[in-house]
């Protein structure tokens, strides 16, 4: 099958997955496919897929605590040149304000605590929202044409 650039935005894609780490790549793959035929640099794509991976890992691990009966809900959409991805879990939620800074000297050598930092580094915008029925939503946004190649990207 050949790549055909989408003539217009194809509308939001929603998917839901059971809480298994193996499913992270399926979602990443679908997101990559969604960008096919769009003018997105390989760099931009690489980093936003890493941010997506981190958000999914958190939803599966911290949110749904790997309870395979709980699901992860992903919605992806490209609107006006911005990719927006929402990741929802069915967990207890958390207060993002309590998350520690992984760059603080006392945290630098910790074995965890870098996921959200990576998301913020590689995306243009990261928003958290506690859901009414429990669970957390995280919304990642990236301008696809911005060429905003933050610190994470080489020149």
């Amino acid at each position: 099958m050949t790549k055909t650039p989408p003539s217009h935005d194809a509308g939001p894609i929603r998917m839901s997955l059971s809480s298994r780490f193996e499913n992270i790549e399926l979602a990443q793959h679908l997101c990559g496919k969604l960008l096919d035929g769009r003018e997105v640099s390989e760099e931009t794509k690489h980093w936003l897929l890493m941010a997506l991976r981190e958000a999914l890992a958190n939803a599966i691990k911290h949110g749904n605590r790997q309870d395979v009966s709980k699901r992860i809900h992903v919605e992806m959409d490209v609107v006006g040149g911005n990719l927006q991805i929402s990741i929802r879990d069915e967990g207890e939620g958390f207060d993002p304000a309590t998350v520690e800074d992984p760059l603080a000297p006392e945290n630098r050598l910790k074995t965890s605590g870098r996921g959200i930092f990576y998301m913020k580094t590689f995306m243009d915008d990261v928003r958290f929202r506690r859901l009414e029925g429990g669970g957390m939503e995280i919304v990642l946004t990236k301008n696809l044409g911005s060429g905003k190649e933050k610190e994470g990207n080489r020149t």
């Binding site: 193996e22 890992a57 050598l109 870098r114 990576y118």
Partner: protein, 113 residues
């Protein structure tokens, strides 16, 4: 993830291959390094050349390995860091924590010092 351990000039060179990501490779990496530490190996060089993907869990495990080797008085260093993994270590200010080499022989020589 696949890990192959070679013994070169008294250094355990660990060639990693594939993904070091949550649920696949992260725990495995820790087990390999812990196994070496338990066998009394103190000089460890991790060859990252064929690592295709790493995430925050993989980075976390790498840091954990570094700490446990260092605590035993050993040295854990990195070889052939792919550019994107270099970036991932850089943004979290870990790149200065690790000794990173581009050449295996050069890296091996530093353990003798």
């Amino acid at each position: 993830m696949k890990a192959n351990v070679r013994e070169v000039q008294g250094v355990a060179v660990v060639d990693l291959k594939g993904k070091i990501t949550i649920g696949s490779g992260d725990v495995q990496l820790r087990e390999v390094i812990n196994g070496l530490v338990e066998k009394g190996k103190k000089n460890i060089l991790i060859n990252m050349q064929e690592v295709t993907t790493i995430d925050s869990s993989g980075i976390g495990e790498l840091v954990g390995c570094y700490t446990s080797v260092t605590n035993k008085g050993g040295k854990l260093k990195l070889l052939h860091l792919p550019p994107k993994i270099n970036d991932v270590l850089t943004v979290t200010q870990l790149i200065t924590v690790f000794d990173v080499y581009e050449s295996e022989s050069e890296a091996l020589a530093t353990y003798a010092a």
